[in-house]
């Protein structure tokens, strides 16, 4: 465990150094990310101004959902997405071989090696706004906050597993340059009022491609609008997806014929 924490610390330091190397990009990204937050708020008010309620969700519920979504998705985009995109490219270019020879878990190395620290600044800002907004509009007990936090983590785990399963398909497809685009489209589905998904779509969004986990589940917990049974099933499905991603990686590695040798 200590080895992995040390590695994570080193990855963090290297990523920070890399970002600071491109100072203009870092400063402009931070500035524009605030413009982006304001634009997102305007978009939400315009949409709800036109639509009234959407699937029973008011504008307050939707803003809460969007804040939760951006805090959680920032975590995914900071700590996981950059490495997984590289993972897919490394398979094609043969760079994976080098990682396979290292005495650490392959999934860990291919999931956390590259971090995008700029995005974490925006995430932190959104987290502060979320806290202020949620406590003002919703009565939250410590238990509810803890439960929302735990299910936020589970949501990250579920989306991570789904993303990793998709990236592992690169062992067969070779060049999946649209992986990020597809994942972002899936991701985006999580920021809309969850009740727009009904019937089989709802089951898919909860348990198979758990986009509900990156926004809707913690929001519904804060709103006290979700049953314990659904939460339990969601937790089981995310854990299952995570183990499935590990099993699938092992299977894929057995099929892997290096591209570099």
């Amino acid at each position: 465990m200590k080895r992995y924490l040390t590695l994570l610390h080193n990855f963090l330091v290297i990523s920070l150094k890399r970002e600071l190397e491109y100072r203009t990009n870092t400063i402009l990204s931070v500035l524009f990310s605030f413009v982006w937050v304001v634009t997102t708020y305007i978009i939400t008010t315009v949409v709800f101004g036109q639509a009234g309620k959407i699937a029973g969700w008011s504008i307050h519920d939707a803003i809460l959902l969007i804040l939760v979504y951006y805090v959680i998705s920032t975590f995914l985009r900071t700590f996981i997405a950059p490495s997984i995109i590289d993972f897919s490219q490394n398979i094609r270019l043969g760079k994976l071989d080098l990682l396979l020879t290292k005495p650490v878990d392959v999934q860990f190395m291919t999931s956390c090696q590259k971090l995008n620290m700029i995005r974490s600044i925006r995430g932190f800002f959104m987290f502060v706004v979320l806290m202020l907004y949620a406590t003002q509009y919703y009565p939250i007990s410590l238990f509810t906050a803890c439960l929302a936090f735990v299910f936020g983590i589970l949501g990250i785990l579920g989306m991570y597993a789904a993303y990793y399963l998709l990236a592992t398909a690169s062992f067969w497809f070779e060049n999946i340059w649209n992986l990020e685009e597809l994942f972002m489209s899936m991701y985006e589905a999580g920021k809309h009022p969850f009740d727009i998904y009904q019937g089989p779509l709802r089951a898919v969004a909860l348990y198979i491609l758990p986009v509900a986990g990156i926004g809707a589940i913690p929001t519904l917990i804060i709103r006290h609008a979700i049953s314990p049974f659904t939460l339990a099933l969601f937790a089981c499905s995310t854990l299952f997806l995570f183990f499935l991603s590990r099993i699938f990686l092992r299977y894929a590695l057995r099929q892997y014929t290096s591209a570099s040798s």
């Binding site: 036109q50 497809f173 597809l182």
Partner: protein, 266 residues
């Protein structure tokens, strides 16, 4: 245009080799529009600024296909080629980089239109099967011709804007900051997120003089008969003005950029 044709042929072969990527691209686009349709299907109101619910759903279906035809999103590929030095092979050879991208992107569009057209057809079929009402399109020679011309303007605008933003990589080794602007502000003003008539009146007025409306919304407005004759003429004038400005900008950036460029590892 011989350069463009050669790159078109090579790019077609390249895409035939990487079919997995194309399939993923298809699902990404379908997913995005499918969710937007679900959002508006579940809206409490049935009348929006200038649109009924069936019209709005038709708008998104049309968008699905037209975005593939009109949106020439080459920002990242251009920037990546400059950052990793692959652009050197164009600088050192008697080939136009701009024409090369026209050829490559055209092949991608051709495949994309077939895929997205099928996708939009399937979505429309599913919606009709579930008794979701769609608005009929009243297409005549006049609005088809005007929409085609507006489409050409839209292609020129998105292509030149993306190309010039990609050329920023000559000066900045990382251009992540451009994403924040490009993928937040432009979809808001171009009609990608929602029709531009949904914007507050002041923003609508400003948007008439910005180039972004002519990336997509203008074509849809013409196709759906949401714009009057005088506004069409004014729209074309603004769009053409921006094309000329973008044209000068890209030429200037290419000249200055290639002078300032230092490729390493080549």
């Amino acid at each position: 245009m011989k350069d463009a044709w050669s790159f078109f042929v090579v790019s077609m072969k390249d895409q035939a080799s990487y079919r997995g990527a194309i399939v993923l691209y298809f699902f990404g686009g379908l997913f995005h529009i499918g969710v937007a349709i679900l959002v508006w299907l579940n809206a409490q109101n049935t009348q929006f600024s200038g649109f009924t619910k069936p019209e709005l759903l038709t708008y998104y279906l049309l968008f699905l296909v037209l975005d593939m035809v009109l949106g020439w999103y080459i920002l990242h590929p251009v920037a990546n080629q400059i950052i990793d030095g692959r652009v050197m092979s164009y600088i050192l050879r008697p080939v136009s980089y701009l024409k090369a991208w026209i050829g490559m992107e055209l092949s991608f569009k051709l495949i994309g239109v077939l895929i997205y057209g099928t996708g939009a057809g399937i979505l429309a079929f599913v919606m009709l099967a579930y008794n979701v009402e769609l608005a009929p399109l009243h297409l005549g020679i006049q609005n088809i011709t005007l929409a085609s011309l507006a489409g050409l303007c839209a292609v020129a605008l998105t292509f030149l804007l993306n190309y010039s933003l990609g050329l920023l990589a000559f000066w900045f080794t990382e251009i992540q900051f451009v994403d924040y602007v490009y993928f937040t502000i432009i979809p808001f003003f171009s009609g990608e997120l929602m029709p531009t008539t949904f914007l507050p009146p002041l923003l609508q007025t400003i948007n008439q003089y910005l180039p972004f409306r002519y990336h997509m919304s203008f074509v849809l407005e013409i196709l759906m008969n949401k714009v009057s004759g005088g506004e069409v003429v004014k729209g074309f004038c603004v769009a053409l003005l921006w094309i000329v400005l973008y044209g000068f900008l890209t030429q200037w950036m290419w000249k200055r950029g290639t002078r300032a460029y230092m490729a390493f590892g080549q």
